[in-house]
């Protein structure tokens, strides 16, 4: 597919993105190193399970909705979650592929990305509604929570429109400009918002796996009971 864009859009799609990406990486390095400097609670008790296996088990529990009651009883919610996050990954991927390897964006690939982004947009709208109307969610929501989900929903909508024009052979459109301007904003804003939760996710899951894996609650197939 052709990718003829103006020099201005090229500047936005590449150098500006790289600068913003570098800034994001720097912020994450600071965030992660700050966390790593904090001591992990000691565990000197004789272990009943395996802390490493527990951590791995915990880290991938996102792929086992039957593991947690909160997901097993809310499979619709879980499915939404998966689609939404796949769409995020695809959208991020698209921001790299469009300027760097436009030939990858075949109609099929573009169509798949558009499908996920379209679904994610609808899911975003439902999540905004949920946050506004479900009392136990509303009471814990901050402006950052609303802003993050609105931003993502708009981003998916804009991305879908930009890619539709892309399939029509129009690489440089207002939608594409907005899509990349929003991407730049994301790269700079995300380290300061709740959207950066994916950086904390591995820490939370590994912490959980270390504590409860060591105590023999996870990985029930490999118990090391102290009384044996």
């Amino acid at each position: 597919m052709e990718n003829a864009v103006s020099h201005a859009l090229y500047i936005l799609e590449e150098p500006v993105q790289y600068i913003a990406l570098s800034f994001m990486a720097l912020m994450y390095i600071i965030k992660i190193s700050t966390l790593l400097k904090k001591p992990f609670p000691a565990e000197r008790a004789e272990l009943k399970g395996d802390r490493v296996r527990g951590s791995i088990h915990s880290l991938f529990n996102v792929l086992r909705p039957w593991d947690m009651e909160s997901t097993s009883k809310n499979l619709y919610f879980y499915t939404e979650f998966m689609i939404f996050h796949i769409a995020v990954a695809l959208a991020i991927g698209a921001t790299f592929i469009i300027p760097l390897a436009p030939s990858v964006m075949t109609p099929t690939v573009t169509g798949i990305i558009m499908l996920f982004m379209g679904l994610a947009c609808l899911i975003g709208l439902r999540r905004i509604y949920r946050r506004l109307t479900v009392p136990e969610i509303k009471i814990i929501s901050s402006p950052d929570d609303y802003f993050a989900i609105i931003l993502m929903t708009v981003f998916f909508a804009v991305g879908d429109v930009a890619l539709w024009f892309w399939t029509q052979g129009q690489a440089e459109t207002l939608a594409m400009w907005v899509f990349f301007l929003m991407t730049t904003f994301f790269l700079i804003y995300v380290p300061f918002s709740k959207i950066s939760h994916y950086v904390l996710y591995p820490f939370g899951r590994v912490n959980f796996g270390m504590v409860f894996g060591g105590r023999g609650i996870l990985n029930a197939d490999n118990p090391k009971a102290t009384w044996v």
Binding site: F40, A45, S70, I139, F203, V211, F212
Partner: protein, 459 residues
């Protein structure tokens, strides 16, 4: 006749002064003052280990925890009991100090400096609205450890003197007397000797003993002070099982109290001190195992926290729940299931034994060996709902009404099993279950596992 003479260490000094040399009463305050808030501000950084910091920073307000908490499920009309909301009372303060956005635009991310109002909310929700049962932790996609986070918050409030009075009094009593009910040493020994006589009056138990301070015994059995004080039959039942299996055990006349309420008020120095007393006593008698009696938080404090508080120990630590399962699996005791014919049983997993302790299958081994009619609750093992009595809740009279209301989900699940006996292995659970069974009009008796085995033993 007790075997106290064997060690001969107390012949000249019973009762000895147990507990700390200088007694204390922790000064408590009725409200947060600016000085207390300033002191809490100075402590915050020291409480932020990696788990607590991640838990404070990692909540995405997805609300998945709302169905996980016995408070929010049992009292659905009060949305402030949702775990994320309760934890946010602490998180707001944390964000105002450490969150980048929170320091620049606090209201945008819900950050809030520590004020007396916010601190009072923390007190209400994190002492009176959370039992640190960690059920929400198990259901949090991000792995937020509410138990560890809430304990960190409690520890700072306790340090500045804001702690539920009865909870602090329990810790102070332990500090001053060496056990949390101030049972004098001579009275304790007399009680054990009396229980031993009662045991020997049972058919087939004429030669059974409850050795006190027996040096070199394999197991150092610890007790909850409620047992010698109010439930001596549970000691009798445990001793009967151990004797029937030929287990070499002893009870100390000194630091026999396995409880550690400093786990609940967050005071690490006290927790460490109580642990040290017990560890020193195990070493004094040269026992191989420190054996936790049936007590939820006591088991967790001994098995999982004591080695951390003391930097490791040279002896092994186990529990009656595990030992009884071992004795059954090794055929060291024989049981007659007809002893409980006509009864239906269910088992309540104490949070500190199951979710935070890893004892999931052992109670089932014990129960299935002794009864034919056992029905699990809808949520069991690591998914069990807290009964509402954990986290020191029974020692917080100011929150009693909420505690009973929060027990509704457990009461509903007990009722659904149709059981007329609720088994458990925890004294806080015992008291809470007895209260909710009565409050919600359920015809069921509450007993522990040793009490289940004792009448079924074939001697």
């Amino acid at each position: 006749m007790s075997q106290i003479e064997e060690s001969n260490v107390f012949s000249s000094e019973i009762p000895e002064k147990l507990g700390a040399l200088e007694e204390r009463i922790w000064p408590l305050k009725q409200e947060f003052t600016p000085e207390m808030l300033a002191e809490m501000e100075s402590m915050l950084a020291s409480r932020l280990n990696r788990v607590v910091a991640t838990s404070l920073a990692g909540c995405i307000h997805c609300g998945m925890c709302s169905d996980a908490c016995h408070y929010s499920v049992s009292i659905p009309e009060d949305k402030t009991l949702v775990p994320a909301y309760k934890a946010d009372r602490f998180r707001k303060w944390y964000k105002s100090r450490y969150d980048w956005m929170g320091r620049i635009f606090p209201s945008f991310v819900g950050a809030q400096p520590l004020t007396s109002e916010l601190a009072e909310e923390m007190f209400d929700k994190l002492f009176g609205g959370c039992t640190m049962c960690r059920r929400c932790t198990y259901n949090c996609p991000m792995g937020v450890d509410y138990g560890m986070m809430v304990r960190a918050a409690r520890s700072m409030m306790q340090q500045v003197g804001r702690c539920p009075a009865n909870l602090q009094e329990t810790v102070d009593t332990h500090y001053n007397h060496g056990n949390n009910m101030a049972v004098p040493q001579d009275e304790f020994i007399e009680t054990i000797e009396w229980i031993e006589e009662e045991l020997q009056d049972e058919e087939g138990c004429e030669n059974y003993t409850i050795p006190i301070d027996k040096k070199g015994a394999q197991y150092f059995l610890t007790l909850n002070p409620r047992e010698p004080k109010y439930y001596p039959l549970t000691i009798q039942a445990s001793a009967k099982v151990l004797n029937a299996a030929g287990v070499d055990f002893t009870i100390s006349s000194r630091y026999w109290d396995l409880t550690n309420y400093a786990l609940f008020n967050g005071n690490d120095a006290d927790a460490r001190l109580f642990s040290m007393w017990q560890a020193e006593d195990v070493k004094r008698l040269g026992c191989e195992y420190l054996l936790s009696g049936e007590c939820g938080h006591g088991y967790r404090a001994l098995r999982w926290e004591l080695p951390n508080w003391l930097g490791g120990v040279s002896f092994k630590i186990t529990s009656m729940m595990e030992l009884m399962a071992k004795l059954i699996m090794e055929n060291r005791i024989k049981l007659d299931k007809s002893a409980w014919k006509g009864h239906r049983f269910t088992y309540h997993d104490s949070c500190n034994i199951a979710r935070s302790g890893g004892i999931l299958e052992e109670p089932r081994v014990v129960i299935n060996a002794a009864v034919d009619d056992f029905v699990e609750m809808e949520h069991c093992k690591e998914r069990s709902f807290c009964c509402g009595g954990g986290g020191g809740a029974l020692a917080m009279s100011e929150f009693s009404k909420r505690r009973i209301a929060a027990g509704k989900i457990k009461a509903d699940e007990i009722r659904a099993t149709g059981a007329n006996v609720v088994l458990q292995s925890c004294h806080n659970c015992t008291d809470q279950l007895k209260e909710i069974v009565d409050h919600y009009h359920i015809e069921a008796k509450v007993m522990n596992l040793a009490e289940l085995l004792s009448p079924a033993l074939v001697l």
